[in-house]
Amino acid sequence: MSIVMTTRPPEAPSNKVASFKPTLLQTEEHHLCPGCGEPVAIRLVLEVIEELGLAQKNVSIIGHGCYGSFIMTMDVDSTLCLHGRAPAVATGLKRMRPEVAVWTLQGDGDMTSEGLAEILHATARGENITCILLNNGVFGDTGGQMTASSVIGQRTKNTLEGRDAAYHGHPIVIGNMVAAMPGSAYVARGSVHNAASIAATRRLIRKGFQRQMEKKGLSLVEILTMCPTGWFVPASGGADYMMESLGKTYPLGEIKDISASE
């Protein structure tokens, strides 16, 4: 390595990790809010797909939520399907094209509110698909209302005093439900609130896709993502708020790995 002596700062700013664009993104620009965790999570998925050599062997099935706009920027064969139905659409496609890595991208509203039947039945059938759940505990896209995954005490636009179990019911912990079913191969929960969790989550996503390619069954990788807008906290406060609220109901880590027990 040659050392160039200089008294001035470098002419170009040094590259931050985040300024390398995965090839499967046509642009780094997005129109999501500052401090939103979803772009980070999606980027991880795209990097993993590329790493695993699946760039030209994958189809994404995208639900309805803020992440939906990535259908315009992801350079991946994609469809944005009806709210909640991604695992069903993915089932039809995967059964006919078993060689392709089929993955869904859903929010907690999309998966645990509107689409609970679809994810559970896809799991029961043991569909070989990889489901990515971006869990922020709210309907972000519609402005921050309660979903089935909102945690007890969480204030949303339609639980102004906080989610009250007696009045609004209990959160659905979908990861554990899916893990308890024989059709699932891999279930894990990651997060994007700091660099270490981002790195760990990338490994979880990788395993999620590997289990599909090994034809082991359904994998669900849940990723806790910041939604400062829907939580009514400053952009910079999203990470802390997330781990104090969602993080307590949704502990991070692998929940099930069928391959590890073999």
Partner: protein, 358 residues
Amino acid sequence: MTMRLMDGSEAIVEAAIQAGLRFYAGYPMSPATELLEYMAEKLPHHEGVCINAATEIEGVNMALGAAAGGFRAASGSCGQGLALMQEAIAEAALNETPIVIFNMARNQQDYFQATRGGGWGDYRTITLAPKDLHEAVEHAQLAFHLADKYRVPVIFMGDNLLARTQMGTTLPQLDLEPLPPKDWQLDGTSGGTGKSRQIWTFGCGKTNDPGPGPSKHWERIAAKFDAIAEVEARHEQGFVDDAETLVIAFGSGGKFVEHVVREMRADGHKVGYFRPITLWPFPGDALEAASQDCKRVLVFELNAGQMIDDVKLNVRDRKLVKAIGGVSFDESGLNLGPLMDATVIRERIALAINGASQ
């Protein structure tokens, strides 16, 4: 091809598979249930897949997925089940995914939800209503052809008579024009090439290849349905030239009416029949021509009056139009009722004619 005695449902399934159907997902509902059973039995022997869906919503969305992958795919049900599918049928129309929905109806009360565009948005569904099994096995092929040709959802509208009547039938191979390859299908091979594919109701395209956006996209879809309406209307008619009375019916009802009109003609009555084969596009111009010199236009349908709206829109004077059908189920509430009977139909036609002359 040799003639075989088959259940209607079996013949329809055989014809659909012959037409290239490879994916079916459905949920039982009488009288569409046997279709699902035959699909489950036969598709796996033809490199196909049949999934017993947990709901009609799940089933039709699975079919959308298989169709997005480039395969001929279908779902099926009737009545309430068709109602559950409407969001997805609209989606197929707006994101241009060709699927076929087999609506083996309990009655004729699904006319509105089949022809009006029962979901959200400006679209219609091509709806084929065969009068008997011979036509049904042709329509099973035509449905997939039209779906692929226009990239639209197509409804095949049957009933319990079609589904459950046994009939000796051959499976003729329709001579249909070749269609272009599905260069839009999601096969997963275009990632990272800058030309990745997209199926999306909002039509916004990708960053490096923007689409027209929602308003223009939906305008184009609506124009496509207008164009389909111009060329795909089909009908059958008989004895219309000197008919004073024209009787209009669809599906099995059309077959009954045709029979009754032939009988009445033999007895010297100036009666004719007209049967829309496509419920949408409704053969309005043809009806206008056929009813030009009629004194009365009678509509026979087993519901409280649905197709009659389309008839009134397409005859020279809506006051000529009279309903001679009605709601009619058997005791179970699951099948066509006693009104679907040649004697009853003849009485009602005669009453309309005589009542008018008194």
